[in-house]
Subunit: 329 residues, 2 copies
Amino acid sequence: MSKKEIGSSSVSTEHLWVHDPREVLRARPNFLLEAMDRADTPGWSGTSREAQAHICSITPVLSMLQERLFAASKEGSQQRVLLVAQGLDTAGKGGIAKHVMGLVDPQGVHLHAFKKPTEEERQHDFLWRIRKALPGPGMIGLFDRSHYEDLLVPLANHQMSDAEFIERVETIKEFEKELVDNGTHIIKVALMVSYQEQGRRLLTRLDRRDKQWKFSSNDIDVRGQWRTYQEVYQRILPETSFSFAPWYVIPADRKWYSRLAVTEMLARTLADMDVDWPTVDYDVEKERERVLATMAPESIEAYDAKREKMIRKAAKKNARIERLAQSLA
Amino acid sequence: MSKKEIGSSSVSTEHLWVHDPREVLRARPNFLLEAMDRADTPGWSGTSREAQAHICSITPVLSMLQERLFAASKEGSQQRVLLVAQGLDTAGKGGIAKHVMGLVDPQGVHLHAFKKPTEEERQHDFLWRIRKALPGPGMIGLFDRSHYEDLLVPLANHQMSDAEFIERVETIKEFEKELVDNGTHIIKVALMVSYQEQGRRLLTRLDRRDKQWKFSSNDIDVRGQWRTYQEVYQRILPETSFSFAPWYVIPADRKWYSRLAVTEMLARTLADMDVDWPTVDYDVEKERERVLATMAPESIEAYDAKREKMIRKAAKKNARIERLAQSLA
C-alpha cells in the first residue's frame, strides 16, 4: 500500500484545523515567547492519531503540488520554497527533515544542515555559505539551522553590539527580500521545546542504544545556556518576522504537533501559490502521430483499449486532489 | 499511520523471492540482452500487490540500516552506497529516485541527475563532474545517469574508436575500484524497457495533462536510435560488470518489478554491510547524572515512570527489524 493509497481512503480531517496554523503561530511584534505553552497544539482540535490521519490525507496533495512546482520550473518559472528550521538541540529539526520532507519526491527536495562554520566559511561574509545552499527553481529547500545562527550565537555569547545587531538584521531583511522578489516563498519555523522536555529527550538519547550516537556531551553545556537562548529568541523573532517572510513559532514538546503544523503550513503555502501544470509548447496531436508511426499495430490496439479508462482515472484522481488543494488555499 | 507501522503489521513476504535478485539479474560475461524478456520478473514469484506489501514490510529495515550507516559515519566510518541508474527515456530512472529513495530519511540520501554536459563540464575530464556528485560517508547516493553516458553516447553516435573505448573502460574500472576501496558499495542498475512499452509510455505522457511536461519532441528522435542503443548496452554491460561493481540488468516493462528489485538489492546490500549502532566514547552513566542534575524532580519522576516501558518497546522493535535484516543478508 503506497502513501497515496492511504490518503485516498482517508476521511476528511481538514476541519480539525479550527484556525489556520499560519495565523495562530505567526510571531507578531507583541509576541511573548514566555507566554507560550510548549505542549500546546495551537489551531488543531484533533488528537495525535487524527494528526497522523490528516498528514496521510494531505500527502497526495503535497505530492502533486510539489510536482507541479517542479514541472513549472522546466517551463521557466522561478518559483521555489525555502523552509528555514531553527531550534535548540532536540527541538525536532531533524524530525522535520525526515517526516515532512520525507513525504514528497526526493528529486524535488534540497536539504542543507548548517554546522559550526568551517575555517573557509568564516573567511567569507556570513551569507556566503547560505547563498550556496539555496534551492533552485521548482525545488523545496530545507535549512536545518540557517543564517539565523549568525544572530543567535553571537548574541548568546555577548559578542554582538546593538549596532552590529541592527545592521545584521537589516542585511538579513534585504537578503530575504531579494529571495522573495526572485520567486522564493520563505517559511521560517522556530521549534520551541521546553527545558524539562529537552532534559527528557536527552535522557532518551542516553537510554536508547539506537539513539546514543545522536548525543554529544556538549549538548549539556549548551543546555546550560537555555535561558539565555530564550531571551535571544525573544529578541530576534519579532524583529525578523518580516511581512514577506514571517516567523512561525511552534510549540515543540509534542513532536506529532510540530510535524503536523509544518506539513500543513507547507501544503497551504504551495496551495496558495496555485501553480498549474505547464502549458506545453509542442503540438500534442502531431507528436502523438509521430509516436504512433513507430509502433506495432497490436501494441497500439492494446494501448487504445486502455486509453480512455486511464485518462478518466487520472483525471478523476487529479480532480480529487485538486479539490483538496483548493480547500487548503 | 506511518510507513513503519504499515510494515510492522505485514505478513512475511520474503519467501516470494525464490532467487536473490542480485544473482538472477547480474550481467555475466555471456550476458545476452536480446534474450531478456522485458516484462519478466526474475526471481520474484509473487504478484504486483504482494510486491507492494513486501516493499512495505522491508521499509523499516531499510530505514534502520540507512540510519545505522549514517550513524557510523559520525564515528569515522567511510562506508557509503552509490546506486547508479541507467536506462533510456521512460525506462523508470525517475521512479527509482521517487519510489525507492523516497523510502528512507532524505537526510541520508544524495541524488544527482546528470544532464547533457555543460560547456564548463566539457572542458574537464569526463569524471570531473562525477567526482563532484559522489555521496559522502554514511550516505546513500543515487546517480540518475552517470559516467556511463560517456560510453553510451559516443558509441551510439559512432564517435569513439575501439582503442578509445578500451581506454575509457579501463579508466572507469580504476575509478570504480578506487571508490570501492574507499568504502563505497556500488550498485549499478540498467533499466531495460522494450521498444513497444517505450512507445506506450510516450503516448501516456502525451495523453495525460499531468505528464505532458515530461515529454520532449527530442524523445522521439532518440527513440529512433533504440536499436543502436541496445547494441551499445550489449557491448558495455558485460565489459563493465566488474566483480567489485557488477551490473544488474532489470526488465523494466513492469514498473512495480523494477522498483521492487532495486529496493530489495539496496536492502540486501545494506544488510550485508552489517553496520551496527556505533559504540559511543562517552560515559553514559556520567552523562545521565549530568542531565538529571538539570531537571526538576517531578520531571524526572514522570520520565522514570515511562522509562522501562520505552526501553523495552524500542529494544523489541529493534530486535524485530534486526531479525528481518538478518533474513535479507
